[in-house]
């Protein structure tokens, strides 16, 4: 008994001390706001934007506190913070999440000079957010299992019998939802609804996200899947031998929707000048080249070319729809997807 009591009484102070030391070590990592600081909520993860934020800090001396997370969660959080929010800038991976904040009246208007840097298709009609980069919806397929000649021109044809049980989808992913919203607007509610239930009936296989689909297609677990184009480029950078390729649907087809990532200034930010400088920086040539070369995305500012391995933006069948409708129609889209049963296959 005395032995164990002694052991216990020595272990508690040791534990407490080590905890305090660790706290002292981690505390400086997180500083509370200051004068020359911007708070950014970013739905783009660190690898996709962190180096740019560091570069901005080096150039301007403006420090950036950034919270990375899921675009939808961060939008919800900014909405919940309301007037109390410290957030200056929201960076979204999908038009849906930034459109949600726009509809809730949580965003400030951007300056015309910022908006004018990208084509009207890639920014909010009301000037509340601006596109940073673009991703194209594609059908990624396993080159060992699929003959590209058999792949359809239209995404609508994936409900055909020859694709039964062979197509992976990510029903709860923001990009997939944006794609369905675009389809509803472009070809009509009924067609979209039929397509969703057709896909469900055709045994489309639900996956958690684009990463999981590309990984599974690479292994040959599923022959093909609907994703954004740049996941494959990233996978090929890590392993050039992956037997997979992107199939682009025919010109003008809904399947090749261009989905933008976006930046916006949050209403109530008391650092709108610094925030504006960051937006300008993200639209600068250097930043747009980062998107082109490091993340394999399409730069949206004119004069910057995408990575050489990708088809040029102009040659791509992109769909031009009002992106504001994307955000506003998201609730109905989520309902349609849920009703189709696609997620429960």
């Amino acid at each position: 008994m005395p032995r164990s009591a002694r052991r216990f009484s020595t272990s508690v102070p040791t534990l407490v001390t080590s905890v305090l030391v660790l706290l002292a070590l981690i505390a400086p990592a997180c500083s509370t706001g200051g004068d020359d600081r911007l708070t950014v909520y970013s739905g783009r993860t660190k690898g996709l934007i962190g180096p740019l934020l560091d570069e901005f800090n080096e150039e301007t001396g403006i420090k950036i506190d950034v919270r990375y997370g899921d675009s939808a969660d961060l939008a919800l959080q900014i909405d919940a913070e309301g007037d109390k929010t410290d957030v200056d800038i929201f960076i979204s991976q999908s038009p849906g999440a930034v459109g949600f904040l726009d509809a809730e009246g949580r965003l400030a208007e951007l300056s015309q000079s910022e908006l004018d840097q990208v084509a009207a298709d890639f920014r909010a009609g009301d000037g509340q957010w601006v596109g940073l980069s673009g991703r194209v919806r594609v059908l990624v397929y396993n080159t060992d299992l699929v003959d590209p000649a058999d792949l359809p021109d239209s995404v609508l044809d994936l409900t055909a019998p020859e694709f039964k049980g062979r197509v992976a989808v990510a029903p709860n992913n923001g990009s997939f939802q944006d794609f369905v919203t675009a389809m509803r607007i472009e070809v009509g509610e009924d067609v979209a609804e039929d397509w969703l239930s057709g896909m469900a009936a055709n045994g489309a296989r639900p996956y958690a996200n684009n990463t999981a689909i590309v990984e599974a297609v690479g292994r040959g677990e599923v022959p093909m899947g609907l994703v954004n184009h740049y996941y494959l480029a990233k996978a090929k950078a890590e392993d050039p031998d992956i037997p997979a390729a992107n199939h682009y649907f025919a010109e003008g087809d809904m399947g090749s929707l261009l989905i933008v990532t976006a930046a916006a200034i949050v209403k109530g930010s008391d650092k709108s000048e610094e925030a504006g400088r960051l937006i300008d920086f993200l639209l600068s040539k250097a930043a747009q080249e980062f998107f082109a070369q490091q993340t394999y995305e399409y730069p949206l500012v004119q004069g910057v070319e995408p990575d050489g391995s990708l088809p040029a933006l102009a040659s791509l069948p992109t769909t031009t729809i009002d992106l504001d409708e994307l955000g506003a129609g998201l609730a109905r889209t989520a309902e349609l997807i849920q009703d189709s049963g696609l997620d429960r296959n």
């Binding site: 070590l25 913070e81 949600f100 996978a235």
Partner: protein
């Protein structure tokens, strides 16, 4: 003497503290109730909706299957590492709890990549004529993956209980001619029943609240409906969260009835614990443990290593540039603080439940445990809204104290059940003797109860530590802005399809967890050294 008859009325201080602790644990639940009460979504219509019903049924089926299999596997492994003379036993003692540390969103991805069609296992088995492995998805896949990642919830508390069990009864049974298997079923199992039940409840609640694994494995559980609706139909998502909480409360109450009236032999601290010689079964048992760890640990790690090496070979991952020190310190630091706080704050509730008669005890214990069944995102969002809308709490929003509170509310169940088992096993005669000798309550606690409870408390702290280190939703929403942990780094890497970075970071998380588990849990819990 019968435990219930011995119970005294609770001292007022312990009751009051327990009630206060329970109130904090109830916060997310109260938030859900209040939101559903004022919202447009009625609980009755939600439950009547066939989509919800199917999803709820799926959740319950999965959680029940996982609970049963994890109970069997966890108990068996606990006995092997705590009691048998299996080769490399101490080595296994460190390895066996580790699968708990995989965040399910990367663990499930890695495990699936290893054992699914076209995966590493297929290429290993190819020369033996295996051409195509079955899909790992749906109910079977989720059952397998969740069992492999949750059995430590049973194994850790049961191993702790086994270590503090007096060898004399087993010795007597052996001397009276019982065969080893009969000793296990007639003596050991009844004495570890409360620990098994406690761990199994945790597994069930974990499976109910898990999102990452069922999402990756495509199983239509209720948490996926909650996630899908959290942005645009928030009231529906919260009402579904409340449905999960009600399931959790019901199961928790049921488990308390099972745990009651269990015959318990007192704990002892002894230099000598009974080791059962396995004889000719020694190497077969060793083989079984190895086979199990091949699935639970080696298979996911193989994918992580494969991804990391691939990225290094192609030059897209630079290990020297990975900058993992800050997230390592952050993760270890916040995990240890949370584990310590979680063990301390639940002690009054655990004492109240195990030692005294009090009307507060039952509800308090149930509330503390039920926090574990809420999906992390529901707890995180509740804490966001609560702290923003409560005047004196808004200062805590996105600070360390609120983050730790959120963790403790989510994971306190793990420490309270472990503490309850440990308290129940402290021999009351020691306490009575000390009281008669004039020792006050604090002195009895420090000199008698805590030392005897140490293995159980350490096991509980270890569970909280491992859970906190992999926690994602609350960390993303509630940590101070800029605070990066290994889990958030892994998540960011998987989102950006940087499997190499995700793999490397997950391996580091596993190593850090292994070291901390050994230092703080296994070494402390093991009385044999």
């Amino acid at each position: 003497m019968d435990a219930a008859a011995r119970r005294r009325p609770a001292p007022f201080g312990i009751s009051l503290t327990s009630a206060a602790v329970a109130l904090v644990f109830a916060a997310p639940l109260l938030y859900l109730v209040s939101r559903v009460a004022v919202g447009d979504v009625r609980l009755r219509t939600v439950v009547a909706d066939p989509v919800t019903r199917d999803a709820l049924w799926n959740t319950i089926v999965l959680a029940t299957l996982v609970a049963v299999s994890a109970a069997v596997v966890g108990t068996a492994l606990a006995w092997v590492v705590a009691r048998s003379d299996v080769p490399f036993r101490r080595f296994f003692a460190v390895l066996v709890p580790l699968p708990l540390v995989f965040p399910s969103f990367v663990g499930a991805l890695a495990l699936r990549a290893s054992i699914s069609p076209g995966g590493l296992l297929e290429s290993v088995l190819g020369p033996f004529g295996v051409e195509r492995l079955p899909q790992v998805d749906g109910l079977l896949g989720s059952w397998l993956v969740l069992t492999l990642f949750t059995y430590p919830y049973v194994q850790l508390p049961v191993a702790a209980r086994l270590r503090s069990l007096s060898p004399s009864v087993e010795e007597s049974a052996r001397i009276l001619g019982r065969r080893p298997l009969a000793v296990f079923f007639q003596v050991v199992l009844p004495q570890t029943r409360t620990a098994i039940a406690a761990g199994t409840l945790l597994v069930f609640l974990y499976a109910v609240s898990d999102f990452g694994a069922v999402d990756l494995l495509g199983y239509p559980a209720l948490t996926r409906v909650i996630y899908a609706n959290r942005l645009l139909r928030r009231d529906l998502a919260l009402a579904l969260g409340l449905v999960l909480a009600i399931v959790a409360l019901a199961v928790t109450v049921a488990e308390r009835r099972v745990g009651r009236n269990a015959a318990t032999l007192p704990s002892v601290r002894t230099k000598w614990s009974r080791t059962v010689p396995l004889g000719r079964w020694r190497w077969p048992v060793f083989g079984l443990v190895v086979f199990f760890l091949l699935n639970a640990l080696v298979a996911p790690v193989a994918s992580l290593v494969h991804w990391t090496r691939r990225g290094m070979a192609s030059g897209s991952l630079d290990v020297a540039d990975a900058d993992l020190w800050t997230p390592v310190l952050n993760t270890a630091g916040i995990g240890m603080v949370t584990a310590l706080v979680a063990v301390v704050v639940v002690l009054p509730v655990a004492f109240l439940g195990a030692r005294y008669r009090s009307p507060v005890a039952g509800p308090a214990l149930t509330l503390v445990v039920a926090g574990f069944a809420l999906p992390g995102i529901v707890i995180a969002l509740s804490m966001v809204f609560l702290s923003l809308n409560t005047p004196f709490l808004s200062g805590l929003y996105q600070t360390f104290p609120l983050l730790v509170i959120a963790y403790v509310v989510h994971f306190g169940a793990q420490s309270v059940r472990a503490a309850g088992v440990a308290i129940g096993a402290v021999p009351s005669r020691l306490d009575d003797a000390a009281r008669m000798l004039g020792a006050d309550r604090l002195r009895r606690l420090v000199r008698i109860d805590l030392p005897l409870m140490a293995p159980g408390l350490a096991a509980g702290a270890g569970l909280v530590l491992l859970s906190t280190m992999k926690e994602l939703p609350a960390t993303l929403l509630l940590a101070p802005t800029g605070f990066e942990t290994l889990a958030t780094r892994i998540w960011g890497a998987t989102e950006a399809n940087s499997l190499a970075e995700a793999g490397l970071t997950a391996i580091v998380l596993l190593l850090v967890s292994g070291v901390l588990t050994w230092l703080l849990v296994v070494r402390r819990a093991d009385v044999l050294d």
